[in-house]
Amino acid sequence: MPPHVRPDPDRLLRQAQAEEAYARRGRLKVFLGYTSGVGKSFRMLDEGRRRAQRGQDVVVGAIQARNSPEVQGLLARLEVVPMRRLDGQSVVDVPAILRRRPEVCLVDGLAYANPPGSERPHRWQDVEALLANGISTVATVNLQFIAERRPEVERISGRACDPHDTVPEAFLRAADEIEVVDAPPEAGMAAKPEEARQLRQRLSELRELALLLAADVVDQQLEAYLRRHGLESTWGAQERILVCVKAASNALNMIESGRRNADRFHGELLVAHMRASGDEPPGLRRNLELARAANAEIHLLDGDNFVDSVLNFARGRGVTQIFLGHTTRETWPQRLFGGRVERLIRRAEGMDIRIFPHRDADGEAPPVARPEPSNG
């Protein structure tokens, strides 16, 4: 959002209405696990028990059929609104819960599909209805059922997921709170050591995905918090790499390196093409293609106003590392002493600057430099 927007009365009204609607809405908390059996249901019920102890009116709206003794022990201490049976399936009895009007409803297994002919196709939509009616909900979900994560989960597990049981990632991201239920994978059930090793490996990859998804959601919440409080995002919990390229840069090397580094840090890759007056279009086109191929977000920045445009952009986006190259057109003393790279280095607080090796436009390393004058 631009910093100096004149308040528009319609916008303010819409905002006030949105805030009012939000105030009436129930709060959603989600326990996220990377597989079944890590203890999501237990954590949800335990939270319900603690809230009930603190005087909140809590009911259980959905719970999985097969449960550990610990889960059953907790369940026995909570009021349950029985699920309805429909076509041999258990579904959340939304009308009964709305009549009962608790403050908090616990809903296990957010991703279940309701049987055909139900009022709402998915359980997460039932939860949406509860929230819209001012009932706060504590729910659980397994990473494998998040729609957008399915391709990756299928790649890791080597199995197709049930296409019906899903929850959209946007629903999770809109949750007020998300909490990871983490535990090391247990692969003791597999018969052969090799199978156990592979299972463990797959579970580890899923576990990593779940932790990173939670980190992304948290990052988004942090950004929102900083925006609300008018703070600059220079926290750097998430690595963000900004590769600055010009028409004449050795962009391929820099963007590839940026991609590799961003992947290793599970960070974001941004590419800025520094557009200067008199730029040749082929260079711009090539850089855009390279950035797109590297799956990077690309931005055009004012190259004639290099230092300010890079720093303003980088600060606004919480960049932690800036990659710069240089061309053969300028000599290093010119570029560094009193030059823009020097100013950038001096002013880039909280950001690393990585300078890439000097290459000619055709990608060859430059000829060996003449002997250096001594330093003094």
Partner: protein, 358 residues
Amino acid sequence: MAEITPYGHLKLFLGYAAGVGKTYRMLAEAGQMRREGVDVVIGYFEPHGRADTMALAAVLETVPRRRIEYRGAWFEEMDLDAILRRHPRTCVVDEFAHTNVPGSRHEKRWEDVLDLLAAGIDVLTNMNIQHLESLNDQVQTISNVRVRETVPDWVVQRADEVVMVDLTPRALLNRLERGVIYEPEKARRAAENFFRESTLVALRELALRQAAHEVESREAPAQAPASSERILIHVTADPSTAMLIRRGRRVADYLHASCYAVHVAAPGQEAEGDAAAVERHLNFARNLHIDTRTLRGTDVARTLVDFAQLHGITQIFVSRPPHRRFALSLITRIVRLARGMQITIVADRSARTERAAD
């Protein structure tokens, strides 16, 4: 004895603040083990007056603490020798990052834990993300607090399992307000430091990302091929060197790169007291398991780059110079000489005012 004792298994519960439930998780797991017949004892437990964890600890055997006198006061520490004599299958050790009182066998509790592991004892322990050495500067930026008790990254890497103990900041702040975590006065002070919501959210994100990194680095080697990256960290007497070493270590770990810390001693060019500062920095690097070298040469940039070329270095890390022209000219010369290498000028991540913390 000819027989080699297999190392104990180390499980580390990772959190992002006091009160997220690390000790609870650890003790609950120990209780479960006990019910399954495992010989488990508590080596150290810090109750902090919390009823729920105290109830979990009460059903477990505890090895009494050792009392140590220091400057006329009595302190209690984990009794390493008593645990080694008792030799349980599994030992619970609270607060992995704790610094022992002088007069203890080791300076750090994590060193005690390494001894337990070497004796074949499994250990359950816990720490917060802010105690990880390589994040020290970032944590200071986030929280405004310089954490003094740190654990080197290689020690965490040594853990067989790292488990994230997650709790939403809102739930944590509720606990703080209800007086579950600290007594009122300490809670009020805490709310001004680590327990601001934005700080908690940022620390939590750091912890989640670190936990993901720890999981990834324990996956099959096929997932993490050794890279050809080699990082050189330029060590000087400047205080920013500590930050440079932490950042270099962290980047090297993520890139699976090898790492050197190199100082160039230029005879006659060093101020008094510099040698001691350099030695401290090199020692710090060694503690983080970084190879260190001291080279001699009057031309610092040339000596550094010659070494880099000889050792196939791909990235040179230098710190952002203070506002002195000379220092920047060093970077300029390194860039000019170091053809084919990337030069990273590392930002000071702890630029805010320092405040000591426990």
